[in-house]
Amino acid sequence: MSKINELFSSKLHAINVGIEFFKDDIIKQQANATHLEWKPPGGGKPELIAALDRLENAELAEKIEAANKLAVERIIQSQPMLVGFDQAINVVPGMTKTTILHAGPPITWERMNGAMKGAVTGALVFEGLAKDIEEAERVAASGEITFAPCHEHNCVGSMAGVTSSSMFMHVVKNKTYGNVAYTNLSEQMSKILRMGANDESVITRLNWMRDVLGPMLRDAMKIAGEIDLRLLLAQALHMGDECHNRNNAGTSLLIQALTPYILETDFTKEQKREVFDFVASSDYFSGPTWMALCKCALDAAHGIEYSTIVTTMARNGVEFGIRVSGMPGNTWFTGPAQKVIGPMFAGYKPEDSGLDIGDSAITETYGIGGFAMAAAPAIVALVGGTVEEAIGFSTKMKEITTAENPNVTIPILNFQGVATGIDIRNVVQTGILPIINTAIAHKEAGIGMIGAGITYPPAEAFEKALLTLSERIS
């Protein structure tokens, strides 16, 4: 039977694109219709539609599909293992005594926002490169400091992302593909360097982390050898974390894994007690750990010719930047960083907020964080309040991603894998932007965290990437 004759004898189920009452009329007639939440592709911009069309050329589309399949396979198959902790100067490629790494795409000292300037000056004091914040500002502007994005040194950094040579880093190795990723230790919440705070209490804590916490974790991992982070991540999601803003379960799992080895280290009972108290002081201890896991997996998927998969989303507080697999190396596509909207600590107002900042959007790039909100009903307040909305965000992200990660699943969605592999073509086609849930830092230096909420990347970063990539490969 021909397809047309099959249609005659089947129950009608229409997909309706455009005028909505056509759907209503069909439903009135006892047939099925699904109305699309359709928007003009590329916001209706002809050059973007032309670029999308170019990429749909059959031969090219096939190459892109193959490249994306490979990229997503590498993200999913990556098995990032925690293999150690050490000071940045000892492990991070290209690190020097006068290097300061920061979050997001490249930025100069002059253009940095308040939170990042606060973190940079605090780090300079912490490193002994300046005696106080005032002097640190002069040093930062002197040209003697090398500023570079964390991402360009195999690192990721929370919020301002500021990383200096003597800070202790997670060392995360990809068991499948061999690459290594690094990230700082959590300073826990609120008034901390990565949020732009830099007073004495901040520096004192950093010193303790350098002298006690870091070395203890380093020694513990020497005994432990390796810890399978992906396994812990999967469990944490089942326990109600989305592992960007909620890390309650993940932190328990991580410290549970580390504890026996911490106990075996040569530190005093008091010092161990300090470490456990510190971990217990907030649930964010494992926050950076998952970021390093995500970075480790995504780096394995970067640099695949023809691939339209996003391998980095990061913000420096001024610009939001993305990198795409098919544009190898450090090609950034940027747009202005956006406001983060969400609940705030008592005493602060939306106008106190700095713009979106941090490498933590690496979690959404991997498929957790905002993408896994359905796994974390306890913090639905971030996305407007209802569990249903949280589930909606997680399912909506499938519109712009290529695969579901079977290794990291969400119970409430019948154990579907998290939406993985953001395709810039889908973002431009649908106008759906990746959802990011993140903390809010005060816009001024020296204050710290003032809230948390959701935000989106600027569409133009994806549009620029699409145009450039389509020119490169077609």
Partner: protein, 514 residues
Amino acid sequence: MSIKVVIKKSTYFDSVSLMSLSTKANQLPGVEQAVIAMGTEMNKEVLRNVGLLTAEVEEAKSSDLMIVVKAETEELCDKALAGIEELFSKKGETKGTSEIKYATIDSAAKSIPEANLAIISVNGAFAAREARKALENDLHVMLFSDNVSIEDEIALKKYAHEKGLLMMGPDCGTAIIGNVALCFGNAVRKGNIGIVAASGTGSQEVSVRIHDFGGGITQLIGTGGRDLSEQVGGIMMLDGIKALDEDEATKVIVLISKPPAPSVEEKVLAQVKQCKKPVVVYFIGGKEEAVAAAGGHFAKTSKEAALKAVVLAGANEDELNKRALNWPLIEEVRAKLTPEQKYIRGLFCGGTLCDEAMYSAMETFEDVYSNIQKNPDYKLKNLHESKAHTFLDMGDDDFTNGKPHPMIDPSLRIARFLQEAKDPSVGVIVMDFILGFGSHEDPVGVMLPAILEAKQLAEKEGRHLEILGYVMGTDLDTPKFEDQVNKLMAAGVTIASSSTNAGLLAREFVVKGA
């Protein structure tokens, strides 16, 4: 100033939920400052910073919930605390299972395997792309959008033909698939007559007439107005005929179009010749010989097409009410019109209805003008000014550019009607009122005040203004057919029983005695 503290022992809430509650609590009336948080050291620090650290707070444990409110008076504090209690107890309403929303045809088609057709009505600039995506996903397409290039139409139809899919449109407003009317359509009985039509209102009219004669429809395939042009070559009409010929439920096939390109007409008639089933051909202004030579059944009017179809499908012609022209009525109207009242003005929503009425006038008169005239000599130069006999298709792009179709928004037609009504050379104004899916909810109702106004005006000037209305719809349609007709009759409007009769009556009303 008053500060009140409530400590709830061993009560856990996630910090983010509490931040959200705090934000809401701070918006409660009279609240100076409100903090709702777990009793951790960090949170106590925050309270100290804002000057709210009381002795009670100091003693709170990290597993205790702290509610601290600062307000002008004690009373306001209590009110705020009550308000906060309410915030805690108020849960958002859940809608149960949420409807999954899709943004693209690709994702919808992949997630809904039973989906079999896409209706596309987005802006013409994006429509072809969406239609291609639908075809790629093996969906049949109803492309409602206009302003799609002919190149795109040809490419889409060729692709659909290769894949064996229906590609209805572009600029296709009507279809009935599996007894479901799509976009603009009427509620017609299920039956054994299949229609392939390159004209929207034309096919609506034939389906309505078939229903009126007691027959019914299997499928109504709309091909879009350009399908029978030289360039497109009738790709969809040919595929539609084949499919209906194969369809067991279909006994008779009806083809409807405005005049096709000659070469395409030949192709279509060659296909008709191949058909196992009787085919009625209603090509407006078409010739009988070619159709007869192909073994088809020629219909000169939409009514004749419907009549022939129901008879071929098994109805007994003698038992049908053919709704013949009412000659006494015609004589009566002729007598009322002055010698100056010579002209017909047709104001139509339906393109084919306009065409049919115009062709019937052209059989008797020469000076028949229209915005859709094929003959350039009689194509209306100034759209805003009627000339002699004028028939306007107000659903044509000339009028709808940037505005909704008059089937949905009647304002343009109302204004034009009042303009025509003032013209002393006008004998009859003829209008269609289209019911059914997609149409205005009360097409007669919106026109009535203007009709009454015009009638009064003519009366004042001592002339009779004949208004002829045709309500296109079935007894199954909404709004109710009968109500619409009654409203018109009550306003002194003469009712035609079909599109064909509307054209004939309008013509005969203004024929001046020899």
